[in-house]
Amino acid sequence: MVDFNLTPEQQELVKMAEKFAKTEILPVAPKYDHEGEFPQEVLQKAFELGLMNTSIPSEFGGLGLGLLDLVLIVEEFASACPGIAITVFGNELALSSIVRFGTQDQKERYLPQFTRSPKVASFAITERDAGSDIGGITTSVKKEGDTYILNGRKWFITNAPQADVFIVFATHDPSLREKGISAFIVERGYDGVSVGEKIEKLGTRASPVAEVILDGVKVPASNLLGAEKDGFNIALTSIDRTKPVVAAMGVGVARSALQTALTYSMQREQFGRPIGEFQAIQFKLAEMAKDLEAARLLTWYAAWRCDQGLPFTKEAAIAKAFATDAAMKASVEAVQVHGGYGYIKEFPVEKMMRDAKVLQLLEGTNEIQKIVIAKELIRSVRE
């Protein structure tokens, strides 16, 4: 049985998120894009409406909403500004790893505080020389009695400048590669934790990214997340869950690109008629529309599988790769439809194009997604 109807509550939350995006995000998106500042005000308002950290289970003070609920909200936010969407939903990755792998004690210590104030949690795995190759991280961990000592530098860490808590991945022995990694809950206030300068980026400039430096940081053993040396699994499992979220950001951007291009093509006249009457433009709009529809369905499907407790690694990778490619393509074409006006800052499409690019890179590049898809395919034959 296939049913594309949203529940009445989902319809309401879409409406609310859409209104929020229109009134609270869209008007300030150019400012944050220009200044590259952290959108604290938007974060505060989103928090007050309960739009942040929707997946925290109710026993820890959250709403315990599903991934499908979340991707519906994310599409609306990203249609207004993917950078702000990344900031507001950045907690999902770090917090979902606590929800999934944390002990009861860790959940009680860390989850409720995120329901009480708009705190920020960051997922710190990437290093300068280890992006897609998680097994290549060199941030080290040594156990001394009841304490783990972390040393190393993390790079491209989303929301790091504002983060209160980090999930840090470190290796016991680099030669063990994927099998030597553990994950830790690291508080910003621990001695030896510092955050470097914000890294200037092409797009999603409302989402600050920085280096995190760990200099002899002592982490109590009670903050080891999951089992020792299970970090690689924790990372992949957590990232699987946020791939549909990134896919939804792609859907939001693709949607805005199409809407903007469609509206413009009906208004802009050349050779005595709206350019939308030319087939060259129509084909672009049609391509955008078909990719958008497919991207949304793939995203919903991956999220739905996750909510149903079904395996969704492959579907999440498919949705993420397809939807973010669709966003890139649609935004580039939206610029093309706008001609020279598409290239200037007074029109919104150049920002969409800059913002879309990062979606193809984060949560695993789209090349990595294809490897994941292929691995899942091959495994299904071998098993």
Partner: protein, 260 residues
């Protein structure tokens, strides 16, 4: 404790592009986004603020309309209303204000209440008649174009500030009464996510026209509806101050030109 009834109408959204139906007797509703009429949203907001300010009471939203109107009630419940009453009947599509008010009056006659709030007019047909008709049916005072309200501590009377040409007028009345709001000082809230989830458990009482036994009074009916001719050329962003002009311009670019 205060019991407030809020009558709302679910109308095409301000951003929807509305076209007449082929038979010219109404609008083509297919694919159109609907919302609670904006002045009704102000009425809901005022009711919620009054209830919460008095630390007690109940806000009941009421609508009489075609089946899709239920969505408007759900939004009002998510905003914080306590319960809803839905007179659900396809025959209420394009109901004449006379009929609409008679139906609402019939529902309200069976209820306990201190105040009836609503928007001064729905933005689809802009008839601006239901509050007045309703107050006549219920034999209650009515103040329209309300901008501000103040209920006395003993809950016996209410002061309503009314916007008039070039100024304000303050009315005082005993409760119960009908207050029809224009734009007020309080921007209608967005529902919070927890309230959206909570709304699931709030009751919506559904009634039919048959159950209410209200027959349509003599009424006008729409015999034709046409789109205005397409406008071309210059459009001025008007306003009293430069700031207001810019606000208006941005609104026009967003809502009319749909540039962003």
């Amino acid at each position: 404790m205060v019991d407030i009834l809020v009558c709302i109408k679910f109308v095409p959204d301000t951003t929807a592009i509305v076209r007449p139906r082929a038979d010219g007797r109404g609008i083509d509703t297919s694919g159109i986004k609907f919302s609670i009429s904006p002045y009704d949203e102000f009425a809901i907001e005022e009711a919620l603020l009054l209830r919460d300010g008095l630390k007690g009471g109940k806000v009941t939203v009421i609508t009489a309309g075609p089946p899709r109107s239920e969505e408007g009630l759900r939004t009002a419940l998510a905003m914080g209303a306590d319960s809803a009453i839905f007179v659900k009947d396809p025959a209420l599509e394009n109901a004449d204000p006379g009929y609409e008010s008679k139906v609402l009056a019939q529902v309200i006659k069976g209820l306990k209440f201190d105040l009836i709030f609503m928007g001064k007019q729905a933005i689809d047909d802009d008839a601006a008649q239901v509050p007045q008709f309703l107050s006549v049916h219920l034999n209650l005072p009515c103040v329209t174009m309300a901008r501000k309200i103040e209920v006395s501590p003993d809950m016996k009377s209410i002061k309503v500030t009314r916007l008039i040409e070039g100024g304000e007028e303050v009315h005082q009345s005993a409760l119960p009464m009908v207050v029809a709001f224009g734009k007020t000082e309080h921007t209608p809230r967005l529902p919070t996510l927890p309230n959206i989830m909570k709304a699931k458990t709030k009751p919506i009482t559904v009634m039919t026209l048959g159950q209410l036994g209200v027959s349509p009074p003599p009424a006008s009916r729409i015999i034709s509806m046409v789109s205005p001719p397409p406008r071309k050329g210059v459009k001025l962003a008007e306003g009293d101050t430069p700031e207001a002009k810019v606000d208006n311009l941005i609104r026009m670019l967003r809502e009319e030109a749909k540039l962003f």
